[in-house]
Amino acid sequence: MSLRERGSQPVRIEQDVVLARQLTRKIASDCGMRLVDLTKLVTAVSELARNTVVYGGGGDMDWEVIEEAGRVGVRLVFRDEGPGIADIKLALTDGWTSGGGLGLGLTGARRLVDEFELDTAPGQGTRVMITRWI
């Protein structure tokens, strides 16, 4: 996998979640990511891809092998034109431990990656960007 290689694939139906996992596994593995880090990344991808399908009404996953300050990483963006998230604070509250939150698995995914950015507003769709360094 060479630097700045990139691509995009649709995340519209359930099977696309599986495809997203498999593609991410391949990209990260080709880059030489360690198994534990790779597993965390693939798991985060599964959570976010599912959100895109189930709550976002379907969208896309953009991926890119990036280089920043001498280190290589895998960056993914999940974007949809869905309803957006009204209460970001609530969405980023742990779902299953406190019983609150929105159960979107966003906090979980956030813990599994090095960088996490959430861009959303009601009626504006949702965009989540994650990065895991090699």
């Binding site: 359930e14 996992r21 597993t39 798991t43 599912r50 698995g105 979980g108």
Partner: protein, 120 residues
């Protein structure tokens, strides 16, 4: 329709998950298992995930649900073979599966089930 096979061994049910499951397949497994427990009056369920290189919150919750439902139906569930990277990730996710018994492999898992179900 794609289904994950459930094997019956006496009063125990054995499930080996070897495919990357999409959500519907996982839910189908949950339903199939609970049906089989009821129809066979199974006393134990062994779920082998040694081939799974990823368990996310959906699958994690499915496992916890199966464990809870089977207990209600008087069956014990044991989860075996979780890979280290998967275990580390689940802990990081905050999904610790309390109430789900675990064992290193099918052999130990069956031993644990027999012990729990009251055999020597």
């Amino acid at each position: 329709m794609e289904r994950i096979p459930i094997l019956q061994m006496g009063e125990f049910l054995l499930v080996t998950i070897q495919v990357d499951m999409h959500d519907q397949l996982a839910l189908r497994l949950q339903d199939d298992l609970t049906d089989r427990i009821e129809h066979t009056s199974a006393r134990g369920v062994l779920i082998d995930i040694s081939a799974l290189d990823m368990v996310d919150s959906f699958i994690g919750r499915m496992i916890a649900t199966i464990s809870g439902l089977s207990r209600i139906m008087d069956a014990e569930t044991v989860l075996v073979g979780m890979q280290p990277a998967v275990a580390i990730t689940l802990v990081e996710l905050g999904l610790t599966l309390p109430g789900v018994s675990t064992a290193l492999n099918v052999d130990r898992g069956m031993h644990l089930l027999r012990k729990r179900v009251g055999h020597s």
